[in-house]
Symmetry: C3
Amino acid sequence: MKLGVCYYPEHWPKSRWVEDAQHMRRIGIQYVRVGEFSWSTIEPTPGELHWEWLDESLDILHSEGLKVILGTPTATPPKWLVDRHPSMLAKDEAGRVRGFGSRRHYTFASLEYREECRRMVTMMAERYGHHPAVASWQTDNEYGCHDTVLSYAEADLAAFRLWLAEKYGTVEALNKAWGNVFWSMDYRSFDEIELPNLTVTEANPSHRLDFQRCCSDQVVAFNKLQVDILREHSAGRDLVHNYMGFFTAFDHHKVGQDLDVASWDSYPLGSLDKEPLYTEDEKHTYLRVGHPDAGAFHHDLYRGCGNGRLWIMEQQPGPVNWAPHNPTPADGAVRLWTWEAFSHGAELVSYFRWRQAPFGQEQMHAGLLRPDAQEAEAAKEATLVAQEVKVLAESIGLDADELMSLPSAGKVALMFDYDACWSLDIQPQSRAYRYFFWCYRMYEAMRELGLSVDIVPSNAPLDMYELLVLPAQAHITPELQNRLNSYQGVLLAGPRTGSKTETYQIPENLAPGPLASLLPLTVERVDALPEHTQPAVSGRWGAGKLKHWHEQIKTELPCLLKDDGGNPVLMGEGRHYYLGSCIDNTLLKASLAKLSEVAGLSTYYLPKGVRVRERGNVIFAFNYSSNTVVFVPQNAELVIGSKCLGAADVAIWKKQ
Amino acid sequence: MKLGVCYYPEHWPKSRWVEDAQHMRRIGIQYVRVGEFSWSTIEPTPGELHWEWLDESLDILHSEGLKVILGTPTATPPKWLVDRHPSMLAKDEAGRVRGFGSRRHYTFASLEYREECRRMVTMMAERYGHHPAVASWQTDNEYGCHDTVLSYAEADLAAFRLWLAEKYGTVEALNKAWGNVFWSMDYRSFDEIELPNLTVTEANPSHRLDFQRCCSDQVVAFNKLQVDILREHSAGRDLVHNYMGFFTAFDHHKVGQDLDVASWDSYPLGSLDKEPLYTEDEKHTYLRVGHPDAGAFHHDLYRGCGNGRLWIMEQQPGPVNWAPHNPTPADGAVRLWTWEAFSHGAELVSYFRWRQAPFGQEQMHAGLLRPDAQEAEAAKEATLVAQEVKVLAESIGLDADELMSLPSAGKVALMFDYDACWSLDIQPQSRAYRYFFWCYRMYEAMRELGLSVDIVPSNAPLDMYELLVLPAQAHITPELQNRLNSYQGVLLAGPRTGSKTETYQIPENLAPGPLASLLPLTVERVDALPEHTQPAVSGRWGAGKLKHWHEQIKTELPCLLKDDGGNPVLMGEGRHYYLGSCIDNTLLKASLAKLSEVAGLSTYYLPKGVRVRERGNVIFAFNYSSNTVVFVPQNAELVIGSKCLGAADVAIWKKQ
Amino acid sequence: MKLGVCYYPEHWPKSRWVEDAQHMRRIGIQYVRVGEFSWSTIEPTPGELHWEWLDESLDILHSEGLKVILGTPTATPPKWLVDRHPSMLAKDEAGRVRGFGSRRHYTFASLEYREECRRMVTMMAERYGHHPAVASWQTDNEYGCHDTVLSYAEADLAAFRLWLAEKYGTVEALNKAWGNVFWSMDYRSFDEIELPNLTVTEANPSHRLDFQRCCSDQVVAFNKLQVDILREHSAGRDLVHNYMGFFTAFDHHKVGQDLDVASWDSYPLGSLDKEPLYTEDEKHTYLRVGHPDAGAFHHDLYRGCGNGRLWIMEQQPGPVNWAPHNPTPADGAVRLWTWEAFSHGAELVSYFRWRQAPFGQEQMHAGLLRPDAQEAEAAKEATLVAQEVKVLAESIGLDADELMSLPSAGKVALMFDYDACWSLDIQPQSRAYRYFFWCYRMYEAMRELGLSVDIVPSNAPLDMYELLVLPAQAHITPELQNRLNSYQGVLLAGPRTGSKTETYQIPENLAPGPLASLLPLTVERVDALPEHTQPAVSGRWGAGKLKHWHEQIKTELPCLLKDDGGNPVLMGEGRHYYLGSCIDNTLLKASLAKLSEVAGLSTYYLPKGVRVRERGNVIFAFNYSSNTVVFVPQNAELVIGSKCLGAADVAIWKKQ
């Protein structure tokens, strides 16, 4: 594992640059991300290019042996460029132009802006494509941040009409696919179709789903444009984009297919405070360390977006500035987060940012250095991790670079599908239901059992997994159906699986649609519950509470859990199981423990707040609680840390 | 009582139509509503009319002996029509156009759209006005749904200026009536007057009230246009519109005057979840059956809008899709709701919809049939009701058709006035106060006493009532004052009665304005309370809590309840009483029980969640609670059900 | 102290005017505010001036010996004027025009509207500048009410670009000052700069701060235009504007520099209900009397804006109409509020309004008279106060007019700075932090100790104070730094003091910036906490809880309070102290008591809800609680009231 940092030489006097690079080396930093917001410094006025500062900066970093991830600056086009192309601006759902003055002021669908990007990225790639410091390119920055995937401007409408024409061929086909006979929504041509905002009441869900898909495809195309240029001019460098957590507005798997590595920006405290997923109790308990599964979930998700290759491009190093509240991390938390990432396969953890900026929107966002260039707390923890990496490598007989080759895949797979996410959230039926939340809670239960989980796309190979969970795979494609038919492990399908066709209709045989061939059952009716209504459920596999979504099912399959009316909740036998309701954490854990048993997987009993991850022959343990806990795996030798883990502590064992 | 269903033949292959009609008959359905969203199927492109599908569909229904309620499709004009008349679109309060893509995309004030409606309705009326299947016409669908009564487009401004000029004659008269000298709001001509949105702070309440009245009158005129055509071409058919519950944005009494029957769309579970009227405790207790007075209140309200004739055009048959949460109804709830409607005088209960659509916005809205054409739970309950209707008819010696002639009027009247509702909600003084809520809570208290209540407009004849309640009749017209002067029953006026003039000013003699001649008192000051401040109240008629609105009154009338400062809360003697504050349910019930006694009315003691309604010589009892209860009226013979009512159960007795 | 009233003769028939004036005199009113919303009565159509009604009204008031405060009517330009200058309208943050129909429909930056104001104010000043009744002029009314300081129209953009060019000279200087290199926000000319609304995410805080300053300066300029005219034509009259409470959107100190007296509009019940500052418990406890420090805080703040001269232009006399709930005041509350104002130096308390209007937006706002011209409760309390003023004057040997000369300054100063308020609220880091709230809570603690506090601007002379508190003086100017260096009293600086430069950057030496010379410490990191996370704090000076904002500080100063990790919270010695965190009321009070001791100030022990204020040799005690309390100051003689204060009671002593 390598450490990195995000660095903005353009923010500081040149006189600091050498000292900065040397200081990075002293801490143990090996990678430096540079350039991704610097368009106005490179090109302060149209066509007047200033590369000299970047030349010099790369040379200095190179001379200190640092490798560079060079960012294309397309997330922040300068004011003059926006003034030349006002139609490049996005519009929000209320139809208002989203103007210049911060960042991400463009819509992905703007062909004019794409041309400007092509010009800039080509110049950069030509100039630095073979620079010896440049090891990697980051395209743009945090696609979709600040809700920028869905836009309702003229460029978006044009793109949408084209996209629909390509997908459906004839408007009659579209009318049928969307069920436009309902409410006289039939169109006579693609040019009659509008964007699904500012309608009197909700637009047709098929309309909304296709718009989301189209917008996602604009992101893919926008990224691909840059990828093609970079591949041409900078072959052999890793192409990467930095995704965000808890963000599902575009299909990260599709974007990932065009890149070499997936990376994401990990802010455990900010997300805990901001995400509606978490309860008040969780926010309180994990205030200074983040939720125990937030990092892990995304590491596993994005490793699956990166063909197994994962970086953390931005790792929170202290208080941030953008959450409703911004507390300081616990002592040790930065080290904990870094090792957690490594245990899930991260090749690189890069801290954001090198030095806290004294100006601009993020001036209260901590860095490894304070604004006065003194080391902040995180610098010490990063230094420690850099040393520990060497200890670990040595103790398992590898050199530090080889650590990256440790296998990171698990034996359990959870299928996460962006299209399913959009589908089910468009019509949640109960406000309490959210696709992401339900996937996260299933993942959390498995992780509390100590299972090492892969989060996989719907087109992933499945054969290597003993247990496969489909939390809510709305639409089962024929291709997926084929792979499920031949899958030899244990399969669990959750509520809403198979409940929609590709164009958002209810399948002719009702849910679970085509999956009924493996799981002979029919979802006859749905009971979509308020947050605080939690009917009892019990059966051979445990007892607990139903939550949010409860299907009324007709089946001959054996029932392992039933509701208090005796209706099936969890059913199945042999290798195929169906869970028709969301259930509470304890019962979910009990059920997954049973399924693990069926699948021949062993599980852990872990204290509250403790998590375990295995990578190759190494076992990592993390204590997210505020208590000191004892954790000792069987047949393993302690390498780093101790059997007694304090708050925010890490222990690492080598399997015997 | 007859059963009906809402049916969309255009959604299904023709090959299903005969089977559908036969299946309806088997269940006991007699009426079928058809056509109300079908404009794009009838006229897919301008002037190209496709009647053949509707011809065939009506013929099939007719051949099975089913009667048709034919809907005009004006709630869903097709896209091509909107593109021809973009000015027909409404604007929301923020000034944004409310576009195509769902339904109700028009403003009532658009003269261009009215011409299109005239064209379409005329064609339909000419073609089907004398079709043997057509027993009734429904105009448009759910006027005002999705907040479409108030619109702020150019067409609305033009209509408003005209309306004001007609009402006031001169702008000087308007200035005086509105008190425009306040804040220099005087106008020099009607053309200077704007719509009351996007002002810096709230607009003049007189301005707002007149705008609401004008918008309501646009609905009346829009409906009248269709009515006139239908009367001309389809004489003898019942004209009806389907109102919504909990909706007060236009004057339903005025619309009702032009129609033959009032109908409404009853969704007990959706409304419980969605309406801010209900407490969390009520939402929990009645999750699967709806609030015990929600159906009853609207049955009585709309029977009063329909000259005594009431239909339920859409009855919830299972989970719906549009509430924040959409649970399944309790077993028996659909039967309960149907009988409750009948007990309040409904001639027809029509379920929405025949078969659940697998596409479009409402694909998760249950029907009598599931999307796969199998019977859903509600079909069984409807079948049972159809059989029970025959049992009841037989047991009281009528044939089933004659049941409709059973008298449904009560001996108690509660006055509900849309104009008062708008007036008082424009300036509620306490956010906790809402006119509708207070009317509902007064009705609830009376219904918990087992009283059968009529809800009447302000121009209703009053002589047949022993007890008359004016919950909050803001403006007492001279005409109403005359009728109250000669009214011989017991009168109770509630807080805010007589507090405003016609143009929203405080009466010269303060509240209760002209009513002071019957109730000699003066409202000196108003104490508008927060939700959780509930001062004590007590006196000869009981003790409890004040809530929301508390008037400080000077009077010589005897005090039956006083606040803890000794000021009058409930006062009066003989036939005239005044309640100056909102009070809690228990004390309200105690007070109304006393008044019933004064009025010579007998009341019931009912277990929690149980309601009774009398119609003619039949007594209906409904158990909305989850417990089994015992209810036995005196001198009555059980006809259907038992003395022990389970959850969601119904019992019917014949008076001896 | 004198009593006044706000009066709208244009609302009533002339036949009432003499009776009104006589009635005012009977109550003891001496000042009458007139005219401030009357533009459409003066000039109903362009150029047609109607002064006769105002002539007559002033003459009647004069003949009854009443003095007039004449308001310029510029807060309510008539419709015809707006139609002539549509660009004078403001736009809200969402870009929507804020139209005619209420009041304050203009943006301060509109040069066109300023010309219209110049025309109107000149005419008025010429006509009434030397009228014998006119003692004072009020400019406009409640600048900024309804969020009208920030506007996003074309006129505002033009003004902003000009303002920036004047401030920065070159756009390069602006780019540097704002740190525009961050996110490529560099501009090439001032004409490229936009207003900071409708950006994709938050705009640069330096950008936002300068925009707020610019908008504030527009208010100053708008006011100055009127002041200059009035000074020219009406020399010797007091010029005043009526500020609002809890309102910080413009710099009241700057506006105040151009006026003779500061006045404000005091609505204790409305503000308690509406302001997010207060807890639910406070709202409940003080429902009918207002928060004990709400009036006092603003009296002291605005006395500091008025060079020591303070009026209350509008005093709540009963229920108002504009809060979420509008309860009646406790008996005695109007008297209590009036005396509280006097104890803080008010020369005049003027009730709003004379007679409750029966029409318009404020028809539910009480006056001294009811709409039917009968006296409302407040008239009785005002009459009593007028009599008590004479009693007090006599008992201390002054005539009533001389009472105004009693000194009102305290020995403690709290610095309140509008620029600091804007700075810190732009980036609060914790949603729980608000500059105003924290200042208020510090003031409250001092007042609970019985201290008489001056609230002073950052440029105030400091030498007369024994104790100086800087709650959160974000930017320490060199000039302030100099005065602090030479200040000889005890200084307490609170969290965030010195944390920003003039253009919103972090100081090079980190917080407290230049203040580190007096207080040698460094704020290393900030822990911005959620509302309900309140870590423990303790030390020599007490124990309690941290709240909202907690700085991690490095210092050698002695620690008086530490957090549970042993880090300094309150530190200092001799005359200089620094508090690095927000702390709870009890501990704040204990700390301020210690500092008072150090400063040689004596404090009171007061029962809950009781407050004391000294003015000259008079001691006032106020009971805001609902209980009867005993309060007896040492060495003082009772003049009015008793040692036993009932709810909402007042007692006044003369020091011996």
